[in-house]
Amino acid sequence: MPKRNDLDSILLIGAGPIVIGQACEFDYSGVQACKALREEGYRVILVNSNPATIMTDPETADSTYIEPINWKTLEKIIEKEKPSALLPTMGGQTALNTALDLDQKGILKKHNVELIGATKEAIDKAEDRELFAKAIKKIGLKTPKAGLAHNLEEALKIQQEIGFPCILRPNFTLGGMGGGIAYNSEEFESICLRGLDLSPTSELYIDQYLSGWKEYEMEVVRDKVDNCIIICSIENFDPMGVHTGDSITVAPAQTLTDKEYQEMRNASFAILREIGVETGGSNVQFAINPEDGEMVVIEMNPRVSRSSALASKATGFPIAKIAAKLAVGFTLDELSNDISGGKIPASFEPTIDYVVTKIPRFNFEKFPQADSTLTSQMKSVGEVMAIGSNFAESLQKAIRGMENGKTGFDNIEEELTKTTLRSKLISPSPERLWFIGEAFRQGSSLDEVHDLTKIDIWFLQTIEEIISTEKKINKKTLSSRDFLFNLKKMGFSDQRLAALSGQSEEKIRSLRQKLNIKPVFKRVDTCAGEFETTTAYMYSTYQDECESNPTENKKVVVLGGGPNRIGQGIEFDYCCVHASMAMKEEGYETIMVNCNPETVSTDYDTSDRLYFEPITLEDVLAIIELENPYGVIIQFGGQTPLKLAQELEKNKVPILGTSPDKIDLAEDRERFQEFVNENKLKQPPNGMASNKSQAKSIAHQIGYPIVVRPSYVLGGRAMEIVHNDNDLEKYLDEAIQASDSNPVLLDRFLDIATELDIEAISDGSQVEIYGVMQHIEQAGIHSGDSACSLPPYSLPDKVIKKIKEQVRVIAKQMDIIGLMNVQMAYANEEIFLLEVNPRASRTIPFVSKAIGLPLAKIASKTMIGKSLKQQKIKNPSNLNHFSVKEAVLPFDRFQNVDPILGPEMKSTGEVMGIGTSFAEAYDKSQISAGTIIPDGGSVFLSVRENDKPHLEELATRLDQLNLSIVATKGTAREIQNMGIKARIINKVAEGRPHVVDLIKNNEISLLINTTEGKESIQDSSSIRRTALDNKIPCTTTLQGGLAICEVLEKRLDWSVQNIQDIHKSIE
C-alpha cells in the first residue's frame, strides 16, 4: 500500500519555545518529519514560533512561518496555503492542542484540511482521562483508582473513595503542570485549587498514588494495516511518583521476565487499537506492583514525545521519520530500516546489546526559593543519555555527561546525620543518586536503601558495587592492569579515579596509556550485530573489539553542548548542526560528539559519524586520538566544549577558528581589561576581589549599584546587582561556591542604559557585522532573558555606526576567526563594552532567521580558511522588517518564586516575532511567548525612583490608550498632578483591600512594575507572583511598558508571512 496520492501539501505544527516539558526533541522529530514528507514529494508547510530550531531553517520546509502557534494565526496560514492535510503529532502537546482547537472551531472542515497521524477522536480518548479509563477497562486492563472533579466539593468526595496518598493532575496541562501528591487534607485542598485553576477545562483528576510501584514505558509504532511494533521498552529507576521526564530511566527494561514483558507488549498494542491511533508513534506508560506483578496503565500519548526521541537515540530507529511516512499511507514493511543500509525492513523490533541510561538535568540553583522535591510535575530542563556495555558503565557515563561538576559518585561534602540522610533517600530530588551512594559509603545495606527509596534492588546493587569498588581504589591498586581495566569497564572516569587515588587526571590518563587501556567503540545498529551496519553511530566502552573503522578522509570534529540547561540550550545545538552541515558542504567528513538525546545533532543522519559520548576531556581525547581529525570545532556548543579549550590544546588537538588563547583573553577578566585599555575602548568601572574586604573597598571606589559575579560562567549564573555593603556581603557568602574558587568580579551597574548584542563574523581579514540587536529591557537584565529587536528600534544611526567601528576593532585585535558576539551598553551618549564572546552565541539562530543568512555555517567555513569573499556572502544593507526575540520563562513551574528578571538568566527558551513594524514584531513575540497584551481594562503602575523621569510619558500614553491607571498612593498622586486620572490602591503592607486583592479579583489586566533593591523587590514579589498565577501580563521594566504602549497604539489584525518570502525581500 504505497503513499497517498490524494494529498498535495501537509501542514506541520511545531512545539514552539523550549519550556520545561517540551524541548529540542520536537525539533528533532519535526526535522525528521519534514525531511520524510518532502522526500515523498509533498509540499510541507511549517509553523513554529521558535527560531532556534533546525526545523525553521528556510531549507527544511517549503513554506515556513515563524508565527505564534494558536488557532487564529493557524487559520490565516491555512487560508493562505490551503494545505490538504495537517499532521499534529510532531509538535508535542502544543501541536495537538492547537489541532484540536482548529477542529473545534470548524476551521479544518471549512478549509477541507484532513487530520492525519491522529484523529480528533483518538486524541480525545488518549488525553481525556475519563474516556481513557473507560477505554482501558473495555479491553480488560486496569488504570489506577481515579475520579474526575470539577470543583473542590467533588474532589473531596473522590478523595474519600481513593484514600491517601493520592495524586492530583489537572487536565490538559503540559508535563502535568500544577499536579502533585497529597498525603493529607491540607495538601489536598491546596493542590486541588491550583490544579482546577490551571486546567483549561477546570478539570482535575485524582488518582490512587501507586507509591513504590515500578514504572515502565513502551514506545509503540503502528501502521494503517495494524502492524504494530515496539521500538523500545524503558524502565524507570525512580519508582512511581516522579514524573517520567524527571526520572532516571534505563533502556531496555531490566527487571521483567519475558512473560511480564510480553503482557505489557500485548497491552500496549491493545491500547493503541482501542484508542484508535491509526498510524504513527505513541508511548504507553505502565506501573507494576513489585510485590505481585499487578499491572496498571498510567497514560498514553498518541504522538511522538520526549521518550520517543530517547527511544530513537537508544535504538537507532528513527520513530518520527517512520511515523511521518506511515501518516501518508505507507505500511511498515514498505519502509526500510536505514541504519542497516536498507537490508531489513522497518517492520521489525529493534534489539540492543548495550544499556542506555538517561539522567534528567535540573536547574534548581537558579530558583533558590523553589522546592526541589521531584513530583508528578516535571521540573527538569534537559537530559543526558549514555550508552554502555553494562548498567554501571552507562550510569557513570551519564553522570559525567551532565556537566554538573560530578565525575561519578562523588562524595557528599556536607555533614550528614542519619536522619538527614534518611530523609534525603525518602524524598526524590536531583541529588538523590549521590545520597544513595553516600548511604552505601556509610554502610547502609541494600535492603535499607531499598526500603527508603523503593528503587529496585537491581539498580541499587549496581551503585552499591560501585561504592564498594571505590573503597579498593588507591595508587597501588590502580597500577594493576586487570583492576584498572575492570574499573574502566564499570564506567569510572579518569577524573573520579584521580580524585579517589589522590593523583591528577593526567596521571591516570598516562597510566592507562602505559597499561594500554583505552576504550573501543561499538556501533548502534538496531539489531545487536545481527546485520552489518553502514551507519557510524557509536559509543565507547571497554571491551575487546573496536568497530569504529576510522577513515583516512580529511575530517572535522564538532563538539556539542551536552544537556540542555538554562543558559545553554537548543541555540547551541542549532549552531553545531550548522557547523557540521557546512563542513559537509566543503567536502570534509564530519564527526559529531554529543550526549543530549533530544537534539538534531545526535541524529545519526546529521553528521557522517556520530559519537554519543559525554563532553569531557577524557571522552573527547579518546575520539580525537582515534579519528585524528584535521580540526575540531569547540566554539559552537556553548560553555561545555569551550571549557575544554586549554586542555585540548595542551594535548595537541588542532582547534579551528579563534585560538584558545584568545578565548581565554575574552574570558579572563584581567587580560580582557588590558585588552580594553590597549584598544582605547570603554568598560564600566570594575574590579576584581578574592575576599570580602577587598570587595568592599573596590565597591566604594566604583560606587553602587554594582553587578557582582564569579568569572567563567555562562547564563549569568550567580550574578546579582547589589546596592549597598549589606547586599554585597550577603552575596559573597554564596558566590564563592558558585565560582569554583575563581575570584569575584565587580562592575559598576549602568542603570537606564540600553543594552546591545552584536553578531559578527571575521575571516581574519574581513569583519562583517550581521546584526545589531537592541534589548528592550534596559541593562541589568541578562541578555538571554531580555527581548531584543533587530534592527534597533530606537537607536540613532550614528551610534550604530560607532558601535560597528568598535566591533571591527575588537575582532581584528582579538584575531577572531569565525563567530563573535559582543555585548555593549549605551548610556549617557557613551558606548561601554560589556563582554566579548569569541564563540557562537544564543542569538545566532535568531539573527540568521531575521536576515536570511546561515551565520553559523558561514562562520564555520571561515574557520577552515574560506574567506567571506570566497563565500560570496552579501551582508544585507537594509531590512524592511523588524524581528523581535522574546524569552520564555519557567516561573509557572516553580511555586513561590518571584518572577522578576535580573542579571541571572532564567529563561528556558525563546520565540521570534516578525513584522513590518516594531509594534507588529513585538506584539507577535509576546503572543508567542504566551502574553496577550490587553487593549483595555486597568493597568497597575508602579515604578522605581530611577524610572520616574519617564513616568509622565508612560502614564500619558496609557491614558490615551483608554487603560485606566491604578497606582499606590505616592505614584498615583504624581500621576494625578500630571492631570491624569489614577485610582489609589493600598500597597500590600498598607492594609486591605490592596493591590494583590485587586489582581486576584481580576480587576487588573496589566501590570507595569519596576523595582530595585533587595528589600523593595521582596516587598513587591507577591504582586508579580499573583499576576503570574492569574495569568495577567506583567512587565518588570519601564522599557517593557513603553513597548506595550507602542503595540497598543499601532495594533492591527496582523497578517502572516513565510520566511522564504521575507528573505527574498531582503536587499
Binding site: D258, Q262, I344, F348, E545
Partner: protein, 373 residues
Amino acid sequence: MTEKKAYLYLDSERFFEGFSVGKNADTCGEVVFNTSMSGYQEIISDPSYTDQIINFTYPHIGNVGTNDDDLESDSNGCNGVIIRDPSTITSNWRKQDDLSNFLKTKNISGIYGIDTRKVTRIIRNEGAKVGAIVSGKDHKKKALKLIEEFVPLGGKDLASVVSTKKVYEWKEPSWRKDFDDNNLKIVAIDFGVKHNILRMLKDRGFQVIVVPAKTTAAEIIAMKPDGVFLSNGPGDPEPCKYAIECIKELRTKRIPMFGICLGHQLLGLALGMKTIKMKFGHHGANHPVKDLDSNRVFITSQNHGFTIDSKSIPEDVKITHLSLFDETIQGIETSDKRCFSFQGHPEASPGPQEIQELFDKFLTVVKSNAKKK
C-alpha cells in the same frame, strides 16, 4: 559467580578469556547468537539448543533470576552459554533461584566477561562455528580436541536423543490461563518440545498426549487422535527418517497436522521438500514474518539453523509465510488445508505472542476435520 578463569575457543586462533559460570565443566557445541533481550531462562531450557552454545547479545543475563513457570523443558537444553555481564543480583517477584544455580542444576557450563558482540560479529560474518568453553591447564589443547571431535549438526539426529522416552499426558495450561475441554485429542510428537507449546495446546481445550520421537504412525493412529502436532527440536531434520516416514503415513490417513520449527521442516520433508543449513540461522525475538494471505507482518520468536529450501516446493503445497529478514520460508500449508506448519515459534516463550492465532487455526482445522468423520 566464580572468579575462576575460563576460555572460549572458536578455533586455534581465536579465543576469549573470561570466567566460569554455572557448571564448571568443559563443553563444546555449535556457537549461535540469540538477540532476545528477555527470556534467557526459556532460551536456555529450550531443547532445540541441544549441542549448541548460546551467545547472548544482551549484556545483562540473570536479572530476574529463574522460576519453575518459565521452564521450557525438563531436559538440559543448550550445551553452554556465553554471557557478557551476568547479574549478581536477581530482582523479580517470581524469582525462585538465580541464574548461576539454575545453570548448575541443569548441568550447563558457561563463560562470562566476554565481548559477546565480537563473538556475534564473527558468527555473522563466517557462519555458525563450533566452539568450546574450557578451563584449567592446557585449555587450548583441550578446547581444540573438543572442537575437533565435535560431530557437526548437519546430518545429526538429535530429536530422538532429547525426546521423551515414554508416553504421557500434558495437563497444564499457560501461565495465568484457564481452559475448557474441547473433547478433541492431540498427539504431540516430541522432538524436543517446548513446554509452552503443550501449554498452548492445552489452553485450547485439547487432550494432549505426548509421545516419543520414534513413535510409529501405526502407534499414533491406534491412539485415535483428532490431530497430530509435530514439535520443535534440535539438529538436522533430514536424518530423522523415522519421523518423515511417520508423517507421510499420517498424511494418508487424513489426520490434521501442525508443525513448529523442526516439526515444520519435517512436514516439509515428508511433503517432498528439501532442507538446507543456514549460515547462522535465526535466533531472536524480533523477526518480521509476513503472512502472504493477509499481508500482515508478525514479529516472531525464532530459533532455527535449518530451513526449507525455497527451490523445492511441490505443487500441492503453498507458502504461507516469509521472513522479511532474508525471504526464507516461514510457513507452509498443504492444498487440502489439513496440514500446516510454521518455522518460527508461535508459542513465543520467550518472544512476541502475536502469531498465537496459528494454534487457533489448528483448533479450527482439527474441529472441522473431526466433524467430517
